[in-house]
Symmetry: C2
């Protein structure tokens, strides 16, 4: 019996800002579960993640750390899926009903061979029904681990009372980074974001100071709220904000180069030029880029234990911005790139969440 | 009996390129050795160093890690001096005839109180007559230690065969950095410099490749000589060369932010903007600024032993560019900033070097 499948395809590489209606295409086809090969599994997609790093894969560029998307094929990203059926023969050990997270195609259902299964892992079943599924793509997923591991590997040792600045602070990574800097490390935390609503949220979440970079000059704001400078800068945006942070840095500041979302929609040759790099020398700044995947093997287990405890205890709040329906995934991506989300942006693919959290 | 003293004074802060005839003033006065206070010493200056970091002290800026020079007063820099007379009372233990190195005023003679003596140290007398005095301001002084300590603290661990790029490679720091990368670490070393003569010298000294950045595009040159990219970048120049190095970097490259001489004569608001910083994220680059003084206490002894052995064994060649006469110190500084030197730029103040090396 053939199964109707909806997919979202990538149309062609683009240099400037992608447009939902132009660059993504919703397609329907069918797959035959009877035709599953040796070791294959059939999964249904529950949630999928939209993340800034995907912007690099929409460009025809060799410079990025991931291969570009293939025009005419479904996009892919991290997601949560459930095993509907395990095919004949020896697979990866996944069974019907298992909930998995990892790299998945943007398709409502998919048959995954053993190679594709290697990019997936079981969701910790002890937490199902206790933490919402989207959490496994957010604070307890790659963005949360990005914040947690970046601070551990690049910013530590962190002294209580150090001044930390987080840009993109209402985004998936920034929200976790700011809360960890506050509750786990005892820093004086400043956040910047792109709307007054986001600023109010940061203040509710315990940030010591927050400002709207669209209505306040970042350099001036930092001079106001951190007159003696900043010790840690968690950079999610790059561009002029990085320049302002370099000027505001104290000696021996640590700069975590996590993202540069302000520049992702800009063609390479017209990107913002950072002028204040001489501060790196005079202030002995450590600026270090990192990608969460590099730390997965080393730190994945410790992160999972620590962060799940922080979340269950309410010491870190996980916020998600959920778009309903796979057919709206392109719009969800474009909206997230434009700053429309608060917390982790994701798409609910399945109509009814199978593991609602009892409040 | 009064002593005639020649000094070189700093006239006023300048934003753009200093001019020897306008910005430095040779003045004569006299000092009375009889008037020396408790613990004072009288020294005669033998050599003085001219260094790019001094450019920051010629600006009226708080942003630098050293205080600006005081208009109307002698400049100061590292130098070599000899104690002519130790005054009455208890001093710092320096005696007549001692050869000292450290921060000194640009004066042919000076009376130094105990506070000023604290910035000086005895030159290793075992090496006098074996290594030329200028060496103690170059390969065996602060520039040499900058190269040695930067590689140790920021670039290590270094694997044999890694590709290292050194800009400003014919300068005081670059020449030592390149030779250490080659002979101590076994790297494949590329150097850039600003003349064909310098390029030829780098090739003689064992650099695997060298190019003239004024006649060759740096990005193209790096693509040619390092088609698989660079693992280490020892940056003495900043600006567009840093952009090219970011583009050429391999994953996990280490960038030593040592200097940015291409930008020192540029007012802050018109400095070159570095566009390729996104590579820091995608390639997980570590970019770290450092100042040699931070490592002096921890590593000074080890550096001195290691480097003096390398120099005595001829494994690192020390090159100096010597200008004769204190009255020409301003011109020596300006010439060095313009790239007129090969190796360590310094000024011989005393007419006859008291410790010539027997060849």
């Amino acid at each position: 019996m053939a199964l109707q499948v909806i997919s979202v395809l990538w149309k062609a590489h683009v240099e400037d800002r992608p447009v939902a209606a132009d660059d993504f295409e919703v397609a329907t086809n069918s797959i035959d579960p009877q035709a599953m090969g040796e070791g294959d599994i059939l999964v249904e997609l529950l949630y999928l993640s939209v993340d800034p790093y995907m912007r690099g894969m929409m460009r025809d560029s060799k410079g990025y750390y991931r291969q570009p998307f293939t025009p005419g094929q479904p996009l892919s990203s991290r997601g949560i899926a459930r095993v509907v059926r395990a095919g004949p023969g020896v697979g990866s050990g996944f069974e019907e009903g298992d909930v998995l997270s990892g790299m998945l195609p943007w398709s409502s259902h998919a048959i995954l061979n053993r190679r594709a299964q290697a990019a997936l892992q079981l969701v910790d079943s002890r937490l199902l029904g206790k933490l919402p599924l989207p959490c496994f793509l957010g604070a307890l997923g790659a963005p949360g681990m990005t914040a947690w591991a970046g601070l551990k590997k690049i910013a530590e040792p962190i002294k209580q009372g150090e001044v930390a600045f987080v840009s993109g602070a209402a985004g998936a990574v920034g929200l976790v980074a700011g809360q960890l800097l506050k509750t786990k490390y005892g820093c004086n935390v400043i956040g910047s974001a792109g709307s007054n609503e986001k600023v109010a949220l940061l203040q509710q979440l315990g940030f010591d100071a927050a400002f709207n970079y669209k209505t306040t000059d970042t350099a001036e704001a930092l001079t106001q709220v951190a007159p003696d400078g900043i010790d840690i800068y968690f950079d999610n945006v790059g561009g002029p904000t990085l320049d302002a942070a370099l000027a505001a840095a104290r000696p021996h500041a640590r700069f975590l180069a996590c993202g540069a979302i302000s520049q992702y929609d800009t063609p390479e040759d017209s990107r913002y030029g950072v002028k204040n790099l001489m501060n790196v020398i005079t202030k002995r700044i450590k600026l270090r880029g990192f990608i969460v995947g590099d730390y997965a093997a080393e730190l994945g287990g410790e992160f999972h234990e620590d962060m799940s405890q922080l979340l269950l205890a309410g010491k870190v709040k996980a916020l998600q911005h959920v778009t309903q329906g796979l057919e709206n995934a392109g719009a969800a991506f474009v909206g997230m790139m434009g700053g429309g989300n608060v917390g982790k942006a994701l798409v609910q693919v399945v109509e009814t969440d199978p593991f609602p959290v009892q409040q």
